[in-house]
């Protein structure tokens, strides 16, 4: 346990980490706290630096373990209420009677939660969908048909946009030249 690192965490960083453990995104945390998503990311980065870890998940786990936060285990340990209200990510159940030490159990739970997240099926987008990341859906969950079709639709979009821009630019430059000739 990095006790010195935990002690160095500011209250703002702790709050951000607690929200993070509730599977909230930076935007959701920012909305809750009335700050910008960038500020949330900075707080999480500060927390990671203070604890000497590379991921926010690890930092949140360390804080939760340090605070002996029972909500942490509930969140990861099968509280469907919390899981359902924040995201559809599956959480594995833990056996509280297994006799493992708190830290070892936290580590096991964190590893299982991470594995569940890693192998979580991608969320399907209805219809053809948009080939852009949206809030809460960073991954490309487009169907095969949409994946096959979108590059060609995008080619048409880029072609039409650039063509329109070039034509408008040409007309504008012609108009400018005509105006200059008119006044001379």
């Amino acid at each position: 346990m990095n006790a010195l690192g935990i002690a160095r965490l500011t209250e703002a960083q702790r709050v951000a980490l607690r929200y993070f453990m509730e599977r909230k995104t930076a935007k959701q945390i920012a909305l809750e706290l009335g700050i910008t998503p960038k500020a949330v990311e900075l707080r999480l980065k500060g927390a990671r630096d203070a604890l000497g870890v590379s991921t926010s998940a690890e930092a949140a786990r360390m804080l939760a373990a340090a605070e002996n936060n029972s909500a942490f285990r509930e969140t990861l340990g099968g509280s469907t209420e919390v899981a359902d209200s924040t995201s559809s990510r599956p959480y594995p159940a833990i056996d509280s009677e297994s006799g493992e030490s708190g830290q070892a159990r936290d580590r096991k739970v964190m590893s299982e939660a991470r594995a569940a997240f890693t192998h979580q099926p991608d969320r399907w987008q209805a219809g053809i969908g948009w080939p852009l990341p949206t809030e809460g859906n960073e991954r490309n969950g487009l169907s095969l048909g949409a994946r096959l079709l979108w590059p060609f639709l995008a080619i048409c979009g880029i072609g039409v946009s650039v063509g329109t821009l070039v034509i408008c630019g040409s007309l504008l430059s012609i108009a400018c030249v005509a105006i200059v000739h008119l006044f001379h």
């Binding site: 999480l44 980065k45 991921t55 926010s56 991470r114 399907w124 169907s143 979108w150 590059p151 995008a154």
Partner: protein, 153 residues
């Protein structure tokens, strides 16, 4: 020629960033870019005065590679990279116009590489953000093949 030097610096920076800090799709794209860049240097000798078939084939192969990448990636950016490369492939048609323009051919052939390199840097940066946030960033998906679409009640 300053734009060539500037582009080379941009491409080198984007490739190093993607190869060093990117996920599998970013790294593969960076490698494909480098291969396509050197293939272009080797096959292109005659300026842009007539249709360069070898250059067209290099662009087409790069397009096909990107299209394949976009089918299996969990990222959205390969779709846009494929589209930009598709426009590059179509740009060869400019030289077949009734009044061909060598300058127009040259510009349309090269201009799309700039947003592609910038997009690669953004993609790698966002990958690092997801990695810091989630602790993991799965690169590939085949879930669209397994029919995991939720059933309607």
């Amino acid at each position: 020629m300053w734009h060539v030097v500037l582009f080379n610096i941009l491409m080198m920076a984007a490739s190093v960033y993607a190869l060093g800090w990117g996920g599998a799709p970013e790294r593969i794209f960076a490698l494909m870019t480098i291969v396509a860049f050197y293939a272009t240097i080797r096959v292109h000798h005659d300026g842009f005065l007539k249709l360069d078939v070898d250059l067209f084939l290099v662009d087409l192969a790069f397009f096909c590679g990107l299209y394949f990448l976009s089918l299996f990636s969990t990222r959205f950016w390969p779709i846009w990279m494929t589209a930009l490369q598709g426009v590059t492939v179509l740009s060869h048609a400019v030289i077949l116009a009734p009044v061909p323009s060598g300058v127009g051919y040259a510009i349309l052939e090269q201009v799309w590489s700039w947003p592609m390199e910038i997009l690669l840097i953004v993609a790698t940066f966002r990958h690092r953000q997801r990695l810091a946030w989630n602790g993991t960033d799965r690169p590939w998906t085949t879930s669209f093949m397994r029919s995991e679409r939720p059933r309607l009640p």
